[in-house]
């Protein structure tokens, strides 16, 4: 049977159908992710390592941290995001010639920005630019940029090249050394290959520096700071209590918030919200900036369950949320936030909304401009929240649906999708996604609550694996109590952190991660601690060059 992994939303919609029933597909649809033989290995074994480049965000943050201040935002080769995450794209693609030229440009402009300003330069370098100064500064700078010890010989090479290309100009020589280091593959690529573990032949364990680097790119989207590197140098970082303290320190740093938001954004497709288009003539709630408002709400909900000491599952059913003027109007609330301001509100207990799945953002981004897409909404739940596999549509399938009944009356979306249920070609897969999505029919394609569709009362009955529910709010409660949801969060975070899909042999570690999350009372911080301690995070197969 095939190896399957989590899907990204396919924006053909309604999703077409597969030939054959689920039975014929040998249980593929709905198999756990990654569904392979379906057999879970009992013994963990590590996966081959990958070597990600820095993503655009990591690259920029690292320059800012290394140069202690703002640098021009460089044009870099755009990240790709296969399997949802830019880290996976960064680990699989080969940089283009233009991409290399862009990193060269970025390194030079960043160095220039600092060295053109004597105050900034002096503060960064910290000594008069004689030979000894250059050597000590470059040794420290390269260590931080490369996230590893830099011996005298390597430091000397960087000092020497600066002097060679800028003879007789000590400051310029240091600037050029810096510009060289900032475009060196040792800076641009993350080599977290580990060192042989004598107790487990063939396995490499991350050394303290590599561990520091991997944690730092996860929690800060940037290079480690001096404190973390020093903990690596002394070996203290390998001690559980020190590691815990460092993780907490980093999570409390302002850099953690945007770094973890990058995870959520990619996992949940939040970036697509800004580009969302709706015709204001058909959707009076499509006020200017509505996409950004929708993103703003979801980001606030996520922030609240990520870094605050809160049960992550609240994301799915909590009535507390944040609205700006656009959303207050769309949700028909009395709140009247001033332009550009956000207000924390508690949604009415007898209202239709609570949690992520009833946010206008989720509902609108998983819909067509003018009609809902139960298929997309259901697919999002299956793939992103439950980490389950939905097979692709067959080739050359018609995906348009009859818009009218035989009598010529307009059909509701539920009626249009009837063909997915009755046509056996379609039913195999669609019975796996549509019933979930149909439960959201109480919200239109803009995420506005509705009670009527095509002059008929809305029918928002849905079903998740045999459990019946009505309305998006009720599904939120079901997902909250479903351990597949929380195990899926852990799996997605692992992929984001390591820049690859989990290997089948790492499945025991994935299961353990889900259990740790649960044992902690679903605290996201605890999940991060568990992830960093996980063998899947710490070990890789030995590389044979």
């Amino acid at each position: 049977m095939l190896r399957r992994v989590l899907a990204v939303l396919l924006v053909v919609a309604p999703l077409a159908c597969v030939h054959g029933s689920i039975e014929e597909l040998d249980g593929v649809a709905g198999a756990p992710d990654p569904s392979s033989t379906g057999k879970v290995e009992e013994q963990f074994a590590p996966a081959p390592p990958v070597v990600p480049r820095l993503t655009a965000q990591q690259h920029h943050n690292a320059l800012v941290d290394l140069l202690r201040g703002p640098v021009p935002v460089a044009q870099l080769e755009a990240d790709t995001a296969p399997y949802l995450f830019t880290s996976i794209g960064a680990a699989t693609t080969t940089v283009s010639e233009r991409g290399v030229s862009q990193s060269e440009d970025a390194a030079l402009s960043a160095a220039r920005a600092v060295f053109a300003d004597p105050k900034r330069r002096d503060a960064l370098v910290g000594c008069e630019p004689d030979d000894a100064c250059a050597r000590s500064f470059i040794t420290g700078f390269a260590r931080r940029a490369f996230r590893r010890p830099v011996d005298a010989e390597e430091a000397e090479r960087w000092v020497a090249i600066g002097k060679k290309v800028a003879p007789g100009n000590a400051w310029l020589a240091i600037e050029m050394s810096v510009a060289g280091i900032l475009q060196a593959p040792s800076f641009l690529y993350r080599l977290e290959l580990g060192k042989p573990d004598p107790s487990r032949p063939g396995w490499n364990r991350l050394d303290a520096y590599e561990l520091a680097s991997r944690i730092s790119f996860l929690l800060w989207s940037s290079v480690p700071d001096e404190e973390l590197l020093n903990a690596a140098t002394t070996g203290e970082l390998e001690k559980d209590d020190v590691l815990s303290k460092e993780i907490d320190r980093m999570l409390d740093d302002p850099r953690a918030r945007p770094a973890l938001m990058a995870f959520h954004k990619q996992w949940l497709d939040l970036k697509d919200l800004d580009a969302l288009q709706r015709d204001p003539a058909k959707h009076p709630d499509a006020r200017p900036g509505f996409g950004a408002s929708m993103r703003g709400e979801i980001e606030r909900l996520l922030d609240d369950v990520t870094l605050e000491d809160r049960d992550f599952r609240d994301l799915f059913d909590r009535r507390t949320t944040w609205v700006d003027a656009n959303l207050a109007a769309l949700y028909r609330l009395d709140a009247t936030p001033a332009a550009g301001m956000w207000e924390r509100v508690v949604l009415p207990s007898d209202g239709p909304r609570a949690g992520l799945l009833t946010t206008a953002g989720f509902l609108a981004v998983n819909a067509h401009p003018e009609v809902t897409s139960p298929t997309r909404r259901g697919k999002f739940v299956r793939e992103r929240l439950l980490c389950e596999y939905v097979p692709p549509p067959p080739d050359d399938v018609a995906t348009d649906l009859d818009k009218e009944s035989k009598a010529g009356t307009p059909k509701t979306q539920r009626e249009k999708l009837e063909v997915h249920r009755t046509n056996p070609t379609c039913a195999g897969c669609h019975k796996f996604v549509d019933p979930i999505g149909l439960g959201f029919e109480d919200f239109d394609s803009m995420g506005v609550h509705r009670t009527m569709e095509q002059d008929k009362p809305v029918d928002a009955r849905g079903e998740l694996d045999g459990i019946h529910f009505t309305g998006g709010k009720a599904l939120g409660k079901l997902l909250r109590d479903d351990t597949r949801t929380t195990a899926c969060v852990a799996r997605q975070l692992f992929r984001f952190a390591t820049g690859r899909l989990e290997n089948q042999t790492e499945e025991p570690a994935m299961i353990a991660l889900g259990k740790s999350f649960s044992a902690s009372g679903y605290k996201f911080r605890a999940l991060i601690h568990a992830l960093v301690r996980s063998d899947a995070f710490r070990y890789a197969l030995e590389v044979k060059p």
């Binding site: 924006v11 390592p49 755009a78 830019t86 030229s101 960087w158 050029m176 060289g180 290959l193």
Partner: protein, 455 residues
């Protein structure tokens, strides 16, 4: 560039009877159309113009109620442009229309989804190969190209870019351009139509201002350029050291990085060619046609000075969800196709052809180094990803071969081969460019046959 007196003389004499080209390059030329002064053949050029989501569907795709508005009524020379080809009228004697072709590459049954029109069609139209099947483990088709696209094959063919005896080669191996920034997903294969190999995207430059910087924004401070070039010694050294620690696949990535550094170093040290540097555009225009024309004008200057010989223009990206609100279409194009919105797709196709016309007009009105128009020295393959986007049908893949390749390619023809192998287009192009290829196409797509009557 240094020219000896005899070369200069011969060039000047030869040039006297021709249309005016660029002064310095004029001096290299021996006559008006056969060779440079040093006996090397005059350069030919290759480009791709890509548009998204194919054409409106018709009978050949299982929709007998819809007429074929694309295929010209007659075959052979002197076709009359069809309704959808109408925007090319007036220049259509320099365009051949190839109809009836489709991918012949195999479609492995496992994992499923590999027959999908977007991916199979784009891969074959651009690389004559099927896509990598391992990507299909991913249900949303993280497929990737299996080999370099044709533009990159040509750009790395030594006899094409730098024949033996040539003193230098073009400053850029190739130039990748794009206009619409709308993407289906941020996956590699939707982000670029030029690939140097699997997972090796050449992402397009999508603003004329960036293109200008890339082509002409070379600092005049030669001391700075030399410093930058010198610095790359240490950077390359670092690349080599890292590479030795890696497994095969990652070592290849680092080695590619290393060779890009060498190219960059060469470029920093090379003086620029004798280009009349055009004015820098202010920025990007959100009107696709305006942006296209701005970019193409700069590209034409680059070709004219032989800064490059290979180019590609991704006007709209494969499976694009670009919203053509200017045409009154409210949803993304990919969606519009799936919704079966025939009139919208027809309007968008006409818009795509009008855009191709702009692209060709700029090439036709700009002289190559010998005074011949760029369109007459080039081959431009204009194509899309499949026949039509309603059901992703592979039949009747749209192909236009524009330009005369310095007389090696016959134009103004309509060649019709129902069910014919799409890879024949690539073989024909290679032959027209003077690149020796007995066959082309992979994994079921191989062919030894060129398109009849064109080369």
């Amino acid at each position: 560039m240094k020219l000896d007196r005899r070369t200069v003389l011969r060039g000047m004499l030869g040039g006297a009877a021709c249309a005016l080209g660029l002064p310095l390059l004029d001096a290299m030329r021996s006559d008006c159309g056969t060779a440079l002064a040093d006996g090397l053949p005059l350069p030919k050029r290759f480009g791709v113009f890509f548009w998204a989501n194919g054409l409106p569907w018709h009978g050949a795709h299982g929709h007998p109620d819809k007429p074929d508005l694309w295929t010209p009524a007659t075959t052979g020379a002197g076709y009359n442009p069809s309704q959808l080809l109408e925007p090319l009228r007036g220049i259509h004697d320099r365009v051949s229309v190839i109809t009836g072709l489709e991918p012949h590459t195999e479609v492995p049954p496992i994992p499923d989804g590999q027959g999908d029109g977007h991916m199979r069609g784009a891969a074959v139209a651009l690389s004559s190969d099927r896509c990598r099947s391992e990507g299909f483990h991913h249900p949303s088709h993280v497929f990737a190209f299996n080999r370099p696209t044709l533009d990159q094959v040509i750009a790395t063919t030594p006899s094409f870019v730098a024949p033996a005896g040539a003193g230098s080669q073009p400053r850029f191996k190739s130039i990748e351009l794009g206009v619409s920034r709308a993407l289906f997903h941020p996956y590699g294969h939707w982000m670029a139509i030029s690939h140097a190999g699997p997972d090796k995207l050449n992402q397009p430059i999508t603003s004329a201002a960036d293109l200008w910087r890339h082509l002409f924004g070379v600092p005049t401070d030669t001391a700075l350029l030399e410093r930058r070039a010198g610095l790359l010694d240490a950077v390359s050294d670092d690349a080599k050291r890292l590479s030795s620690k890696l497994g095969v696949k990652d070592r290849e990535r680092l080695d590619a990085h290393f060779s890009h550094l060498s190219e960059l170093q060469k470029r920093l040290r090379a003086t620029t060619a004798a280009c009349k540097v055009p004015a820098a555009p202010a920025g990007r225009s959100e009107d696709l046609k305006t942006e296209l024309e701005l970019q193409t004008r700069l590209l034409a200057v680059a070709l004219q000075c032989d800064l490059t010989r290979v180019f590609s223009m991704m006007f709209t990206s494969p499976a694009s969800n670009h919203v053509f609100s200017n045409l009154g279409v409210g949803a993304g194009m990919h969606q519009v196709c799936h919704d079966g919105n025939y009139n919208a797709v027809k309007a968008i196709t006409t818009y795509h052809m009008q855009s191709l016309r702009i692209f060709l007009d700029v090439l036709a009105s700009t002289q190559d180094i010998d005074g011949m128009s760029l369109l007459d020295t080039s081959v431009v393959l204009a194509t899309s990803e499949y026949g039509e986007g309603y059901k992703h049908h592979p039949k009747e893949h749209p192909v236009l071969l524009c330009g005369r390749a310095r007389g090696a390619l016959k134009t103004g023809q309509h060649v019709r081969i129902p069910g014919g192998n799409l890879s024949r287009v690539h073989l024909t192009i290679l032959r027209a460019l003077g690149i020796d290829a007995k066959s082309y196409g992979f994994n079921g797509g191989a062919t030894t046959e060129v398109l009849p009557g064109l080369v």
